[in-house]
């Protein structure tokens, strides 16, 4: 346990060093980068991705993957509009829609555990299914004109910080505590490290997995609500490509794609690094395509470094 902890620490340390170097370079390139206003604004923009990446950490640590989070986000976004237009009170409509997101995640978990379909294939299928549902239900019409108080979630501030940033910080703390300090977190690691051994050790493997995928769907739904509030409209193409960004952040943070290893702290570092790169490079004058190249390069670099250090820690 201590050996692998040390190797984990090494990856997070490397990532932290990389992040500090990147932040320094970017701050040097543009004097607008390291201002409070910019940092808070980036926090606002990264909240949706951040929330999804947190639950994605759990999913990947169990050795699975959830490609349908983007589609669940789009579906929940559409349903908020549909429920509200149908006459349901807005807060209730949002709650209901987020619950449908949780249901969608539950279906994922059910198919993976009950019917033993690999997570990659399951969530690939539900990616198409949920996106199709979103487009069909909405007929690609968007719903606009929400009451002002709804925009506080996505565009407003509480105590000087963007509302969704508070949510993200709370979620980070909860996720970190659950994964690192509770039996459920240990069960997650066990399922990812060796599922058969975990099952024979009496760990409730199926229940853990279903709970994790349900949480993934719920949180994707919450991110959808935040996005709708931020852009003040619903669109059926919301969240396309979100799953890849979330997986990038999680893998960058040191979570092994094969499961059994990973921390929430790593994911947070990965998120910060990616968002800092995206924002800092744009402020420094690098155009959109250049930013994508740099992020890909950083991802490969981080994985390479992990592999070099990880080999002796792989007990």
């Amino acid at each position: 346990m201590r050996l692998s902890f040390r190797s984990l620490l090494r990856h997070e340390a490397v990532l932290a060093v990389l992040m500090i170097v990147a932040l320094l370079v970017l701050a040097h390139q543009s004097d607008r980068f390291f201002t409070t206003a910019n940092i808070l604004n980036q926090g606002r923009l990264v909240s949706e991705l951040g929330l999804v990446a947190l639950t994605m950490t759990f999913v990947i640590v169990t050795g699975g993957i959830d490609l349908s989070v983007g589609s669940i986000l789009g579906l929940v976004a559409i349903l908020i509009g549909v429920f509200w237009k149908a006459g349901i009170l807005l807060p209730l409509a949002v709650l209901l829609a987020v619950c449908v997101g949780g249901l969608a995640g539950f279906v994922n978990g059910l198919i993976i555990t009950r019917f033993r379909v690999p997570p990659l294939i399951t969530t690939l299928a539900t990616l198409a299914l949920y996106r199709g549902l979103a487009e069909g239900i909405s007929e690609s019409r968007s719903v606009r004109g929400y009451p002002e108080y709804f925009y506080v979630l996505g565009q407003g501030e509480v105590g000087g910080m963007p509302t969704q940033l508070w949510l993200l910080l709370a979620a980070m703390i909860v996720a970190g505590v659950v994964l690192g300090r509770t039996t459920f977190g240990r069960a997650t690691y066990a399922v990812g490290a060796n599922e058969t051994a975990a099952r024979f050790s009496g760990v409730a493997v199926d229940r853990t997995k279903v709970l994790i995928y349900t949480a993934s769907g719920l949180v994707a739904g919450l991110a959808g609500a935040i996005l709708v509030s931020r852009v003040s409209t619903t669109r059926s193409d919301m969240g396309m490509g979100l799953e890849l960004d979330a997986i990038t952040a999680v893998v960058l943070g040191g979570t092994s794609i094969f499961g059994g290893r990973g921390t929430v702290a790593g994911t947070v570092l990965g998120l910060v690094l990616i968002q800092a790169l995206r924002n800092g490079l744009a402020l420094a004058g690098v155009k959109g395509d250049g930013t994508i190249v740099v992020i890909g390069f950083v991802l490969i670099l981080a994985i390479l470094v992990t592999n070099i250090f990880g080999r002796d820690g792989d007990g």
Binding site: R32, L110, Q155, S232, D237, G288
Partner: protein
């Protein structure tokens, strides 16, 4: 457990019932339409009061060098390459503007918002945009206005209070009339047609389709609308959509509308590959270069557009006039370099001019 799963499946399928029950949608938006008269008589348009937004405490930019960023719907397609060229040409002529074109590689509103947001933080003097979604882009544009940045749109509008001026390439009802008239000329008054568009919420496409429906109902009532399909602004998706329509409706389909500069050549290619040149007509909006092979072969008879290079050029001149303070709310026209005086219509829209029809006779005169 199995029962729970059964309940879930039933529940999800019930949720999709409204989708099945709903009638088809042409893809137009829900704003009021204003179809032109069926003959070529002109209509005097009543003027509307100024309805654009205003920047908060902008610095005095009169005569000074300004930095402007242009954020189109997406980069990398011929149409926005052309508008970008127009913007760059105007900037060179003006001499005191430094402009950069940057945008997402997909027509995605989330990414476009992030781009604009970064440039607001960077502190530009002006933002030119072509919106992927009129309502979704409004919050970030209003943020730009609140920071004293000048905001001018072209090609695809946002909600009026989120920008100061919008350079409209042509009147929406003028484009609709031109498209429908050309289609009716080719497939007759009782032909059936389908539409390939970008998305149902893209502002300009939705507006054109709404006006086309209204104009068709008024002047070509016997023409049959079959279906409208979304294809983002993606080449492969547009080609697949067109091929699917051709296979689905078979001999019933007489005409295809391409509502984006990507959909029209893709539709023409689909028709050519299905060997239906001559039996299915393609009328649409496209850049001349993309359509030259099909027009010269005779597969496509007419391409409707305006000059996107001029559109970008006009947008840059409007931005400079706004920054200098010479274009104020309530103005009725603005001087745009070599394009002369452009009229202000609809409160805060600046009209580029009437739509232009490219045919076999004139398409070789253009290179964009």
């Amino acid at each position: 457990m199995l029962r729970k799963a059964l309940v879930l499946v039933v529940g999800t399928s019930l949720a999709s019932l409204p989708a099945l029950a709903a009638a088809g949608w042409t893809g137009g938006d829900d704003l009021p339409t204003n179809p032109l008269p069926c003959d070529n008589s002109s209509v005097t348009v009543a003027s509307k009061p100024y309805d654009g937004g205003a920047p908060t405490n902008p610095p005095n930019r009169k005569g000074k060098k300004i930095t402007v960023v242009d954020v189109p719907k997406l980069i990398g397609i011929g149409y926005f390459n052309a508008t970008s060229k127009g913007i760059a040409d105007a900037a060179k002529e003006l001499g005191n503007v430094s402009v950069k074109t940057d945008g997402p590689t997909k027509a995605n509103i989330d990414e476009q918002i992030t781009f604009i947001d970064n440039y607001i933080t960077q502190g530009v003097d002006g933002i030119l945009f072509a919106a992927n979604d009129p309502v979704a882009i409004a919050p970030v544009l209003k943020k730009a206005l609140s920071k004293g940045i000048d905001v001018v749109g072209y090609d695809a509008n946002s909600t009026p209070d989120a920008r100061q001026w919008f350079v409209n390439q042509a009147q929406f009802n003028g484009i609709a009339k031109s498209l429908m008239d050309n289609m009716a000329k080719e497939i007759g008054e009782t032909g059936a047609f389908a539409i390939v568009t970008s998305t149902f919420t893209t502002p300009n496409q939705a507006r054109w389709i709404a006006e086309m429906s209204a104009y068709a109902a008024k002047c070509h009532p016997k023409m049959k609308w079959l279906e409208t399909v979304e294809a983002q602004e993606d080449n492969v998706l547009s080609f697949n959509a067109a091929t699917t329509l051709i296979n689905k409706y078979g001999p019933d389909l007489k005409g295809l509308f391409g509502m984006t500069s990507v959909a029209t050549p893709a539709g023409a290619e689909a028709i050519t590959q299905a060997k239906k040149c001559g039996s299915i007509a393609e009328v649409g909006l496209a850049t001349p270069n993309a359509m030259k092979p099909y027009v010269m072969k005779g597969c496509v008879k007419s391409v409707v557009l305006w000059n996107p290079v001029d559109l970008g050029y006009a947008a840059m001149y409007v931005m400079r006039a706004v920054a200098d303070g010479s274009l104020k709310p309530g103005a009725t026209s603005v001087k745009a370099g070599k394009l002369g005086e452009l009229k202000v219509v609809n409160g805060s829209e600046i009209l580029l001019g009437p739509p232009f029809v490219y045919t076999k006779d004139n398409i070789n005169n253009f290179d964009f």
